[in-house]
Symmetry: C3
Subunit: 156 residues, 3 copies
Amino acid sequence: MSYRTFTEALKELNLALPAVNQPRGSYVPAAKAGDLFFIAGQAPRVNGELKFSGRVGRDLSIDQGREAKQICASNVLSHLAYATGDDPSKVVAAVRLAGVVNSAEDFTAHSQVLDAASDLIAKVLGSAGQHARIATGASSLPSGMAVEIEAIFQLE
Amino acid sequence: MSYRTFTEALKELNLALPAVNQPRGSYVPAAKAGDLFFIAGQAPRVNGELKFSGRVGRDLSIDQGREAKQICASNVLSHLAYATGDDPSKVVAAVRLAGVVNSAEDFTAHSQVLDAASDLIAKVLGSAGQHARIATGASSLPSGMAVEIEAIFQLE
Amino acid sequence: MSYRTFTEALKELNLALPAVNQPRGSYVPAAKAGDLFFIAGQAPRVNGELKFSGRVGRDLSIDQGREAKQICASNVLSHLAYATGDDPSKVVAAVRLAGVVNSAEDFTAHSQVLDAASDLIAKVLGSAGQHARIATGASSLPSGMAVEIEAIFQLE
């Protein structure tokens, strides 16, 4: 596990820790039950603005899908930073990532797209960033977002 | 948290606590692991009868989708009532809601539809009803149901 | 709960316990948080080879979808066997199964397809195999797989 802050870890990757996005509906961004931390579905939004909409494999390339997934993952990290006081050492383990791709009907490269999110989380959290994962395609997503990520972490 | 029963809370909203729907397959309606209570996917059924089928944004309006989601949410509450002896005070927290919308390809108002479910749960459970949420679209759902909700709660 | 090994239980059903499939991306096949065991999305693969691709209800029949789901379930069991030293008695409870069907747009028989997975898990684990479940359709799945299963179990 890393001793850095989330902010520093992302800076080393030439990324900025985004501001926590507010939910766009009647829910909360994250909920804790015991030591499990459930993070709501994260969109590829930066400061509230949707950066990638449309279908991967039709409107967007795989690389654009990967970029969108990385934004979702950085939003996941922003909620972790908020919950832990920007201290990655308080994350015991990433547990589960669910990645949804708004995709063309013949799309099959979900794993390649999701790896951009999984890799970022693993780079920042080290061995504590390892997680089980499910990847699916969707025929539509809220606001037309291109990808979405939901996550469960175990915190101290 | 409220001191009323689920039955009374719904009556105040001019709604009836539905009978617990039986699973339509080889599974159980809910499973407990520690203090986590996993509720199976709930359909917009009342007394077993499917009230809304088809695609929201094509066959059904947003308002009909919201009405269907509210039925799903009342079915979620029926399982909570059954598990707690109709005592909302035994719910520590709503944790996670996953809402799926059987939707037209260009549908983007998932959050507006899901809010009908989230709002009902929050009205009945108060601050214990706050939850993280993920919304997705599906190209098909079991029995052609219009919407579906899965939930995790933390019980005493 | 059964006293047999997973291997023996499957042999009695004329099935072989498959080798554990390796993840095809930057994730791990399963993650444990407390006594909860989260198993990543399982494909209908045997020894890494995808046995069923395409859409159920268009390219594949319901019976083929059921056969594919049974393979997914046997892969779920292979991860349980690996985690428990092939000892089903260490499984306290199946908790949640999420089953996704890569389906034709007019497909409605998700439950019938998923039952093949639920029934296999219940046959092997007995009363500990009871689980809550959500079934959804997807317009695309990784590698074009026909079905996918994700699971949460409670272990000793």
